[in-house]
């Protein structure tokens, strides 16, 4: 599996650390309520198909949102995070 890094281009998966679904980018407002926060902290989909998740490129220090397919293992692309 190869993942695109915004600095370094396509790199081997072993250079990356997985951080889970992109849910972490959608932090609820402080007053969003217990249900929203419970969802944010604990509940994740387990999709068979397209998903978007966070990867950290350890060598250069970039965060990447990777669009990939859990069935075909195809990596469609990635966007760097600010």
């Amino acid at each position: 599996m190869r993942i695109p890094c915004p600095c370094c281009g396509w790199r081997d998966r072993r250079e990356f650390t997985y951080y889970g679904h992109e849910t972490f980018l959608h932090r609820p407002a402080p007053d969003a309520g217990a249900e929203a926060w419970d969802d944010y902290l604990h509940n994740r989909e387990n999709p068979a198909g397209p998903t978007r998740d966070l990867w950290y490129h350890d060598p250069c220090g970039s965060w990447v949102v990777v669009a990939r397919d859990t069935v075909t293992h195809a990596v469609a692309g990635g966007e760097g995070l600010a």
Binding site: C7, E15, D58, P59, C60, G61
Partner: protein, 185 residues
């Protein structure tokens, strides 16, 4: 107060590791890191850093880039990070970037020989053939499991920089790969 009875001795990151090593036509030598300043520009200050570095004839490098001028060298070292080697940071740079002296945190080696690409192919998960990794190109990657800053120094030579704390493991891994590559003839 300094204790006059204590003498501090400067040691290199590759001291005591049995270098140079030679297997087949490949040679691994120590390349002492005399000065290394990590430059991490504050947000939005890359251009200002380039302006300050112009005093040395340098600029802040793009990803994968290394620049040399007047004996000084600046090398991309990660996202919005670069190493300045062999020169003190120029005046004014500290206003625009966080500067840390990391000279004694890194160990550097030179791997030279026609088999150098084949040796590194065993340890680095990248295509290091000249077509995709030309002379002067800089990458951050892995040497086995160790963090790596790799520069193609010449058509048959690679500059290998890793954490000084891992220098012994790096020499061990490189020596093993050199021996195995040489055994294949």
């Amino acid at each position: 107060m300094a204790d006059p009875s204590v003498t501090l001795t400067v040691t290199g990151g590759a001291d005591g590791l049995g270098l140079p090593l030679r297997h087949g036509d490949c040679r691994l030598t120590a390349q002492p890191v005399a000065t290394a300043s990590l430059i991490a520009p504050y947000p939005g200050r890359v251009a200002a850093c380039s302006a300050a570095l112009a005093a040395l004839g340098l600029a802040f490098p793009a990803p994968g880039q290394g620049l040399s001028a007047q004996g000084a060298r600046i090398v991309w070292a990660g996202r919005e990070q670069a190493f300045l080697f062999d020169a003190a940071p120029p005046d004014g740079l500290a206003e625009h970037a966080s500067l840390t002296d990391q000279a004694d945190g890194w160990a550097r080696f030179l791997l030279q020989g026609t088999g150098a690409e084949a040796v590194l192919a065993r340890l680095v998960p990248l295509d290091l053939r000249a077509g995709s990794f030309p002379q002067g190109r800089v990458v951050r990657s892995l040497l086995g499991h160790m963090p790596l800053l790799l520069i193609r120094a010449a058509s048959d030579a690679f500059e290998i920089t890793t954490y000084r704390s891992m220098a012994g493991s790096a020499v061990h891994e490189l020596g093993r790969a050199m021996r195995a590559t040489a055994a294949r003839g």
